[in-house]
Symmetry: C2
Subunit: 224 residues, 2 copies
């Protein structure tokens, strides 16, 4: 085995150990934990802020925000009154399970139903690093084009949910060419079990179905 | 120095050697080489196809396409009659200079004025790997939001040109909130010299200025 592969594997194994520890702790407390992954600018933070507001009184959500720099996103989440912890990776292209372990210690987990981790905007690297989540959510904005499951298959193959966001951009005729049915078929070819919701976090379209799925998933974790 | 850092540096140094070799070869032949970097779905391939068509008879362009999987993008470039070589990274999140070295051997470089390398869709990792280019082009679609220079500063700091794409999406009032002047100011704070063009590869808006810049840059390289 080359030195490069050996060291790469050691980093992954160390990450896996932290991820298992996070997972065990969250499972003991019967908390749902979701790892949200997408390209930059697909609308992850807008989706989270709207989801928190729409589920107020039904589901309590806390957020771990991953960004290379700035705490813009944590501020946007806190404006909804939900707790948020910001991690700055200072250049790194994904969150690690060790960073999430530290962030979990700073969140009032006992008072929450769901912890959502918003990963660094990157459709490639975060899919290789487990953080201790119950499942991954991949977000694809219609502005990114409908060839993304074919071109970036790993994250679509590994995700529990696909959120197709910004569907309002398709409404102005000819504004954005995006074939929702093609994306659904391509994603299901990679991942038979994937749940798919077409939403607009801006207009609210489709948000009710997504929120119902979250509430149902919280109950399933609680009754385990 | 830890083993991890040491091996990481060796990979970067090896890449740097290939990059220097590519750069030297292209400079000897007086060819402009640009490394195009962006999030997935910002419109890189659409920009390239339109640029090639708009510059027909003035500037000859060849393309190296980097994707994790599929040769969809190389096919789109070849449909314009320009030569294109597809690299599939099979999971890797950026192109390496060694891959570009192989691809250059498959392109008719002597017959071209510009080689454009379309990197893997990723706003983070590709900025750390030199490929031998004369300069980097960062593409930002207005659908991605105007906070991206602040959140992903490295690539904006290192690029010769910023293309703000899909400006047609701002025209339908209220469709996309994106403050072009804020992005320009944030990018120039990171990088005083950066050239900025606001374009729509779909409608053609702003393409003439970008194409003129390319033609002027080709002449500068030729007269060096």
């Amino acid at each position: 085995m080359s030195k490069k592969v050996e060291v790469g594997q050691k980093i992954l194994i160390k990450n896996e150990e932290y991820a298992l520890e996070n997972k065990r702790g969250l499972a003991e407390q019967k908390k749902l934990c979701l790892n949200m992954i997408s390209s930059p600018g697909s609308g992850k933070t807008t989706i989270l802020a709207r989801t928190i507001t729409d589920l107020k009184g039904r589901v309590r959500i806390g957020v771990i925000e991953g960004d290379i720099r700035t705490d813009i996103d944590a501020q946007r989440i806190r404006a909804t009154d939900a707790p948020a912890v910001q991690i700055n990776t200072e250049g790194a292209c994904h969150l690690s399970a060790a960073q999430v372990s530290d962030a979990l210690a700073d969140l009032p987990v006992a008072e929450l139903d769901i912890v959502i981790i918003e990963n660094v905007g990157n459709l490639v690297c975060p899919s290789a690093f487990e953080l201790g989540e119950s499942g991954k959510i991949v977000v694809l904005s219609v502005a990114e084009g409908d060839d993304k499951p074919a071109k970036y298959p790993s994250i679509f193959a590994k995700s529990k949910v696909l959120l197709i966001n910004k569907v309002d951009l398709m409404e102005a005729v000819g504004q954005v060419d995006f074939d929702v049915e093609k994306v659904k078929a391509d994603a299901r070819r990679l991942n038979k079990e994937i749940e798919i919701f077409a939403i607009s976090a801006k207009t609210g379209e489709g948000m009710a179905q997504w929120c119902d799925w979250l509430e149902k998933s919280v109950k399933e974790v609680r009754n385990k």
